[in-house]
């Protein structure tokens, strides 16, 4: 999970991502940040996330991102 937090902090260093369950509605990230996040996650974990899965629900909090990455077999521990 620390790797995900590091990536998120790299995009929006001003926010504490452990303190939100809804990054989008809390204004932590917008749709463009999600695109940047996808690119960073793909690079970090060596995966390709399907375009159909790039939806807010999969990036709205740490658990959602972790669940998505697990589907691709990413080693997030």
């Amino acid at each position: 999970m620390d790797k995900i937090i590091d990536i998120l902090k790299g995009i929006r260093p001003e926010f504490d991502f452990t303190a939100s369950d809804d990054f989008i509605n809390d204004g932590f990230i917008d749709s463009f940040d999600i695109v940047t996040l996808v690119a960073a996650l793909e690079k970090q974990f060596g995966i390709k996330i399907k375009g159909t899965e790039i939806v807010p629900e999969n990036f709205c909090n740490l658990n959602a991102i972790a669940a998505l990455l697990k589907k691709y077999g990413a080693a997030i521990a």
Partner: protein, 354 residues
Amino acid sequence: MRFAYRNKKITGVLSVVPKNFKTFDEEMENYNADKSRTKRLKLVMGYDRHHLVEDGVTVSDMAVFGMKYLFDNGLLSKDDISALVLVTESPDYFLPPTSCVIQGRLGLSQDVFCLDINQGCAGYIVGLMEAFSLLAQDDMKKVVLINADILSRKISKEDRNSYPLAGDAIAITIVENADDGSLIQGEIKFDGARHEVLMIPAGGFKMPSTPETAVMHEDRDGNRRSLDNLVMKGREVFHFVQTEMPPLLNGLFDRIGIGKDEIDWYLFHQPNKFMVDKLAEELDVPYEKMPSNIVTNFGNPSGVTVPLNISFNIGKRLLNETFKVCLAGFGVGLTWGAMVLEIGNLNFNDLIEF
């Protein structure tokens, strides 16, 4: 709608882009977001430069310039033109049709059939369909298909959502009958229930432009635009493309019995690099077969991205070689479609500046 056309061919492509361009870096100050976030966006989306018309330039100006280039260089004769089809979302006027304006400015025959089509990102597919259909009439020589858009003039410069990808251009495609047994097949779909995903709200009869519609508002992401400006719900557009295009394309390939590896080039509309690359991944097509560099070099001039893709990425090879290509467009309407055809041995395939 599934479609098929026999014995039709593209015989020339000319793309015209404005000389004037701006870089993403020099426009970053316009956007209400910190520079580091915006720079990261640049890399992922493939933004670098976009070619934009100067104030006062219209679609007919660029179209007349391109047509005169063809006449002056002996690439097209006025007497060979049977029809002029213009696909644009940025006409010179509400009325008359801009195709008529172009016909008049060029002094073309009164027998030339003129038609405007209001289409955008799928406008190359729609325009080619119309051109192929017209060629079924008797005594047809050449149909001139002009795709043209200068929508940068309707996009707020403070809209980080849309302005970085704005681009202006026109393309002229010559379409003729052939006697080679060629078969062009494709499919196109429309969903007007989602028409608000990509639109210019004010300026038509539904919401005439007024001082109130020109007032700038800020959205929750910090983008500033008015009702007179183009508004794109980027997230919805992205999801629409990723969910609708792969099944349409896979269904088309299955129906016409062609393997993906049999297609030499996938020349798709290009709103941004990220979206096109995701389509390539979903379709399991190599990135190099599906170029995503138009938005980087020119911006996104709506339906012109597809012929610009032909001119920029294949270029002079098309004068002596033939390729099996898949053309695809998706966007405003919503509209999404694709066609598979052979293209090659063109009389010209040029890219020039206005």
